[in-house]
Structure formats: C-alpha cells, structure tokens
Symmetry: C2
Subunit: 288 residues, 2 copies
C-alpha cells in the first residue's frame, strides 16, 4: 500500500476509536476536523520512508508510529492557532478549530490528540514491546520539555532566545522524531538517524520562511507574513531571499550525505531529493 493510504487508513482508525457512542459529540467531531483533510503529511511520510529503507518488518508498528507523530503535529497546530498564540483564523484552507468550535474545545482537542498519539503506540506493540516503548520515549522527547516542540513554542515567551535551541525544538524536533521513529519501528538504532531528521527539519524551516515571505495567503492556506508581524526569527530576514535559497540547497545536500547505512539508502536519498523539489517555492526554484 502507498504511504499516503497507509497513513490515512491508520489515522481514520485512531480517530474512530477516540469517538464512540459515549463521547461528547462536539469534541468527537473536532478531533476529526483537526486532522482532516491532512496537509502534506510530511512527517509521517518521512517516517514510513525511513522504516521502509530499514526493511519495515513490522508495518503495523510503523503505521502506528506515523499516526502518533502526525497526531502530535496536528495537536500542536490546534494549540498554536489559539488566540493567545498566533490567533489564526485559517488553517489548511478552513477555519481553525477554535473558530469552528470554540476555544475550550480547541484546547481539549489538542490535549486529546496528544494522549491519542501515545495510546496508538502502546496498542500497536504486539510482539515488539521494547520497540513500542522506545517509540513512546522518542516521541515524548521530541514533543515535551526540555527539547520538544513544547520547548520550541516556550522559547517565544522568553525575552532572550537561544536561537539554535529554539529552531531545533520548534521545527527540528518532529523531523528528528520522524527519522528516529521510522528506524525504531523497523528495529534499528535511533541515534544515527538524528542528523537526517535535524537537517530535513532545518530545510523545512528555511523553505517555510521563504514561503512566508514570498507567497500570499491563498497559496499558503494560512495568513502570510506572520513572522514579520510576530517579529519571529526568519532566515529570509537574516540572509535575504537568495542567501536563504542557497542555504536550503546546502542543507538538503548535507541531509542526503548523512543517511545512515541501510538496505534502502539509495531509495531514501532519492526521496529526500524529490522532497526538496516539493518544498522549494516556485519563485525560488527559478533563482537557484
């Protein structure tokens, strides 16, 4: 089955389990609203790519890992969109969860999706309890404190920002989770996969900075120019458009070079190359 179908099928099953006849119906539908239609599902796709490159001998566990990671990502979007953070009206082309439902339901949706992520991993353990526990730990480390996406968002409340810790946590963390969890699900060591995730995360951040600076809200499916408005660090402000575009290319080259030895090494390198083509905005691709 293609990655996309695997992800959507496993995601739908997880959300269905979170609903049930005894559940409060608004919150139950909000869970589904928050995860569909999906965005590009970049993180779970990367996770399944790494798992496949490592042999993917427990596909059900890989699927669970992919869904757990995407649930955490979706939860973070719901919370980041709240009035006290970005106060975003639109996400993936439709009203944000707190706009469509309410602020209380948006907070509970995020909370429920986080919990669901860990539940999905525990339930998929089957004959590989050690891998499942490693997946829980890897996901928790990249989600919470002191160096997960919660930490990343927390940096925005500091008067003095440690920029490298901020970026590593805010954007890098879930890409590192993607490569490491893909490896763990297939029975590989996590540690050698950190660099690949870290570099892809960095590339994604620079590409996002370029899009935020160059694209309009319709192309983005969310408000543009947000970094400027919120005075957030942005590679385009730091290096200019051409500088940021060159940096993006260098990072992706480094990412490919960092791929650990595994049966599907060449396939994975090709996948990162295709990914690079996809994330570079058209206006920039013409310039590098």
């Amino acid at each position: 089955m293609a990655f996309e179908q695997r992800i959507e099928a496993a995601m739908a099953a997880a959300i269905a389990r979170g609903q049930g006849s005894e559940a409060p119906s608004k919150l139950a539908t909000a869970l589904d609203y928050a995860v569909t239609p999906g965005g590009a599902r970049i993180r779970p796709t990367l996770l399944l790519s790494v798992a496949t490159a490592c042999g993917d001998d427990r596909p059900a566990l890989s699927d669970a890992a992919a869904v757990a990671l995407e649930l955490i990502h979706c939860a973070s979007l719901v919370h980041d969109d709240l009035p006290c953070f970005d106060d975003a009206e639109i996400r993936r082309g439709k009203p944000t969860v707190h706009r469509a439902y309410s602020e209380p339901l948006a907070i509970l949706t995020g909370d429920s999706l986080i919990v669901m992520g860990f539940e999905v991993l525990a339930r998929a353990a089957a004959d590989q309890p050690q891998r499942a526990l490693q997946l829980v730990t890897a996901l928790a480390v990249r989600t919470g404190m002191p160096m997960g996406i919660c930490a990343g968002q927390g940096w925005e409340s500091e008067s003095q920002i440690n920029l490298s810790a901020y970026h590593r946590a805010k954007t890098g963390a879930l890409f590192i989770a993607a490569t490491q969890m893909g490896a763990i699900a297939a029975g590989y060591e996590a540690e050698p996969w950190e660099e690949l995730g870290s570099r892809i995360g960095e590339a994604f951040q620079v590409a996002d900075d370029l899009r935020d600076a160059l694209c309009d809200a319709e192309t983005l499916g969310k408000p543009a120019g947000q970094d400027e408005i919120h005075a957030r660090p942005n590679a385009v402000r730091e290096y200019g458009v051409d500088g940021a575009a060159k940096r993006l290319k260098d990072i992706l080259g480094g990412a490919i070079a960092s791929i650990p030895s595994c049966p599907g090494e060449a396939m994975l390198a090709e996948m990162v190359r295709r990914y690079a083509e996809k994330i570079v905005p058209a206006q920039v691709a013409a310039r590098v």
Copy 2:
C-alpha cells in the same frame, strides 16, 4: 519509604528531567510551579496503596505510575483554570499558572506535563515492558477521548449532557486509572479494579460538591460556590446536604465491599475508611 516521600521524590526527579540547561526557563519553572506544593496527592496515594496491597514487586514502576497519574492530574488543573474554562485566579492557595506566568505558558505547561506523564512510564519499564505498555494504555484511556478526563471536560460544551458519562469521565476516570495502574504496576489484572476506582471517584465528587457548597474560599484554597455560578451538576443541588452526605457514606461502603481479593485487602479497606474520614467536610461529619 512512606507513600508521600516516594511520590514527591519521583515527582521531583521527573520535573528536573523536563528542565535542563537548554530549556526555555519560564516554561521550565512553570512546570515545577504547577506541581508544587502538591495538593493531597490523593490519586497517586491510592495508586501506591493498591500496588502495595498487590505486593508491589516493582516499586520503581509503581512510583513512575503514581507520578505519571499525578502529572496528568496537574496538567488538567492548569488547563481547567484557563480563562476560557473556569477563569480561576487561585489554585492550592496561590495564583493559577496563567495568572503567575501567562496564558501561552499555561497551555504549554499542561501540554508538557501530559507528555511527561507518558515519558515517565516508558522510561521506568526496565524488565517489565508489557506492564509499562499496559500502564500507558490505561492512563491514556482515562485521560483522552472517548472516556477520559478530556471527554469529561468536553461534556461541558454540549447542550445536552449525558450525566453518568460526564461524571464517570470528569472525576471517575483518574480514580479508575489510580486503582488499575496500581494493580498493573504490581503485575495484577486491571479489570477487577475498575469498580473500586469508580466508587472512590464518585465519593470524591460528592464530597467535593459538599465542600463547594459549604466551605469558603480560604478553606478550599480556590473560589467557592463555583458549581452554582457555572450551573454545573452538583449532588447537593440534587439531593440536599443530608441526602448528599448519606449518599457519600453508601458509596464508600460499596467501595470497600468491591475490593478484589489480594494480599493487602484488609489494609486497603482500612485505607479507604481513613480516606473517607478525610474527605467528609467537618460540618457534614457531625450530621451523619
């Protein structure tokens, strides 16, 4: 070591791991602020009581389970206190997290504590991976959707409330988690322990309703009369003070009768009796 010391030592270790030199400092201190000084630590104490009654052959795992449960409870308090829910100023006699820090940091504190709960369980697995995974599942089921505390809070956004589902999820869930996780940590089946947790949760709810109706803010350490203000279901409104007090006594009797067979059955019954004396407000104890 006494339960209280075991809980506080394990809690301090978990919070310390969430801090670290690379962490954003406000969020790092907010985590500690949210869990200390603890309240009565009723849920983790109940968990350790059940684990002890079941032989407690893996005390480090029991401690992790107790801390995980309390972290989730503290997270729920931080989120429930937010302006869009209870808009509470005071909790455990000091300003709530969003008042002391900010709303963004309160949301992130709750998120981080939830994640930390699952991480603590995964890291404590050692030679008992199956128990650890069962603990993750049990905690997730009683925290998220469709029947955990998130679901319980979600019911407050519905125009028609399923009262029994609401109470079971809102207050009962973490007491059921306490008894079941205590049993699991010590290698016992979870299912027979549901009723004890459910009845203690119900008793706690009725006792809380009595306190909310009878005590002042200073005694409570939080605003009084909140159920009346928020038009929430309350046993005193339903049965009157004497009716609610009688109900509380009946429920606790049923709780003791429901204790499954285990080496420490008598000790556990005594512990529930002492707990009952503690939760009944003095004004009520004189009347039953």
